[in-house]
């Protein structure tokens, strides 16, 4: 038996290496899984993980899918750093989409440049308001933000479902539960003609950059970091916990709301019964795999996006079930958490002293 020995200092090398170890372990397990469901592992591996990189169109799709993951992931990471666990980004995203949709439908006849900015604003404010509920209940009543933000996800889903079945349904839509298609001026401009990736991707990179600046160069960012790593020291220094909670929820709520706008004003082009296949939850993994660092989040969002796109490609070409994507997501986080062990510990082989039977 070998045993774990605590390192005197956390290993920086392991901190950077553990996401890579986790990704490799996930790929390896993925190949095994392909083998067990009767796929030729190498070919399946190629289709799933390599093929999405081989055409310009699919690279565009990768960036399109990465956009909401970056936006949500960056916001969540800021909170996780300060031990503020916002698990409800999917709800905040949904409300953002609803608010943006309301603006788009209200100004349907108007062809003006300001419709889109107004939608982004409405989405951000909607996400913030939805995020304000868990923040308020945590700071005022000490209620677990994990459970409250999560419950609100289901409330948001039902609200969207009500709206697309009722008040916001397209009157000329043959009773399908969806809104009218948004007008030209309520649709995000494409980055490259022929690809579906749109201006929201630029917004997500700006958000990551701003978050990096916030964490690295502002006092508020420093305060949050200290609160997360050493709550006692933060208390001693007089850093206010409610302020951190509010800041974390407002930032992540706004970004998740904008992610919702990006979906309805982007690839969807309308409100539908569901605007997100769980981006808000996948973003939790994105945040952790990205080491809670804004730039890491961008990289891990692309990796997570690859899981989605690869899953779709494999579904079409190999008839593999789309649920594999969810398994890969979960595995990735398991492996990352397990690999994180080596940041603080190293394995020490059990020494056998001569003459003493082990």
């Amino acid at each position: 038996m070998s045993r774990l020995e605590r390192r005197p200092e956390p290993s920086r090398r392991m901190m950077l290496a553990s996401p890579l170890i986790a990704a490799v372990a996930m790929l390896f397990t993925g190949s095994l899984l392909f083998f067990f469901i009767g796929q030729e592992p190498l070919h399946a591996f190629y289709v799933y993980f390599v093929k999405p990189w081989t055409t310009l169109y699919s690279v565009g799709e990768l960036l399109l899918k990465a956009t909401p993951l970056i936006l949500c992931g960056v916001g969540l990471a800021i909170g996780f750093r300060a031990n503020v666990n916002n698990i409800g980004a999917d709800g905040q995203l949904t409300i953002g989409a609803i608010c943006a949709g309301a603006v788009a439908l209200y100004f349907d006849e108007v062809q003006a440049w300001w419709v889109l900015p107004l939608m982004l604003l409405a989405g951000a404010v909607g996400g913030m308001l939805w995020a304000a509920i868990p923040a308020l209940l945590r700071t005022r009543f000490n209620t677990s933000e994990i459970l409250v933000s999560l419950m609100l996800v289901y409330v948001a889903y039902h609200l969207l479902s009500y709206l697309v079945h009722g008040p916001m349904r397209d009157p000329a839509g043959f009773n399908f539960p969806q809104s009218k298609m948004f007008s030209e001026s309520a649709t995000l401009p494409l980055l490259v003609e022929g690809l579906r990736v749109n201006a929201a991707f630029i917004l997500s990179l700006l958000a990551a950059g701003a978050a990096w600046f916030f964490c690295k160069h502002t006092f508020a960012g420093y305060r949050m970091q200290v609160s997360g790593m050493a709550p006692a020291a933060a208390l001693y220094a007089g850093f206010s916990e409610p302020r951190n909670v509010w800041l974390a929820f407002m930032v992540s709520g706004a970004l998740a709301g904008i992610a919702g706008v990006g979906e309805v004003a982007g690839p969807l082009g309308q409100l539908q019964p569901s605007v997100s296949p769980g981006y808000g939850f996948a973003a939790i993994i994105v945040a952790y795999v990205g080491r809670l660092h804004p730039l890491g989040v961008v990289l891990s969002a692309v990796l997570m996006s690859l899981l989605y796109i690869g899953g779709e490609t494999a579904q079409i070409e190999l008839q593999t079930p789309s649920a594999i994507t969810g398994i890969f997501q979960g595995l990735l986080l398991f492996y990352l958490l397990a690999a994180d062990l080596f940041i603080h510990y190293r394995i020490k082989p059990h020494k056998r002293v001569a003459g003493v039977p082990a």
Partner: protein, 308 residues
Amino acid sequence: MMTTELLIAFLASTAGAATPLVVASMGELVTERSGVLNLGMEGMMLIGAVVGFGVTLGTGSMIVGLLAAAAAGMLMSLIFGFLVLTLQTNQVATGLALTLFGIGASAFIGQGFVGQTVAPMPHLHFPLLSEIPFIGPLLFRFDAMVYASVALVVAIGWMLARTRLGLIIRAVGESPHSAHAIGFPVIGLRYGTVLFGGALAGLGGAYLSLALTPMWVEGMTAGRGWIALAQVVFATWKPRGVLVGAYLFGGVTMLQFHGQGMGLAIPSEFLSMLPYLATIVVLVIICRNPQTILLNKPMSLGQNFKPD
């Protein structure tokens, strides 16, 4: 106006909606009493639901299906236990990972079962008792799990309060360091409570796919795993509180099915929101007094312990 028949139907269906919450929450309650917070309930319940359904479909035996669901829940919680107890990972993050994994894995396992049905768990019929007007249909016509879940609450309540094992579990939850110093196997005991919690979460999930709606639908727990977690807080970590809470929530859940009959002119989506909103409201009421939580919450909840 509400007729007696409607009232009976409403109250009786409440027990059905409450039972999976009772079973799953009792598992989590024992786990949390030993100081471990497993946020993977939703994932474990989903795996229990799909495995219980699939095995019952394959073997034709509901007993085997239930056992398999419990085993599957335990296997899931073993992953959690290994990461948290042996590898010392963060409990919150690991629990979330377990839920996300469970959502994906249950959808993967369950693709072949979509659209199939099994015969629902049979309702018991007691001679004479079930025939009593009003009382009979209200108390003596449920399936076995409803009665078993109430017995479970009594048994676990007794175990925690009156037995040596219960004392050790509580001691480990309050202060793993003291418990370790006295010589109790903290990690081993926590493995036990985590596995027990997983087994009950699996059973609670299987009740959904075998009794409540006898079929498999992707994501069919619809947040019940999270509500089960909230139930433990609501109950302030006391078994009888779980029973009260679960029946309260069962009633709220059933409003959406009986709402129209009761003359509630509210769109069904708003009635569907009620259980989640009720969870939030109840959490606020319980948590607003920090003393209540502080006095009852296991002191080491969520904190890892590593014997050195």
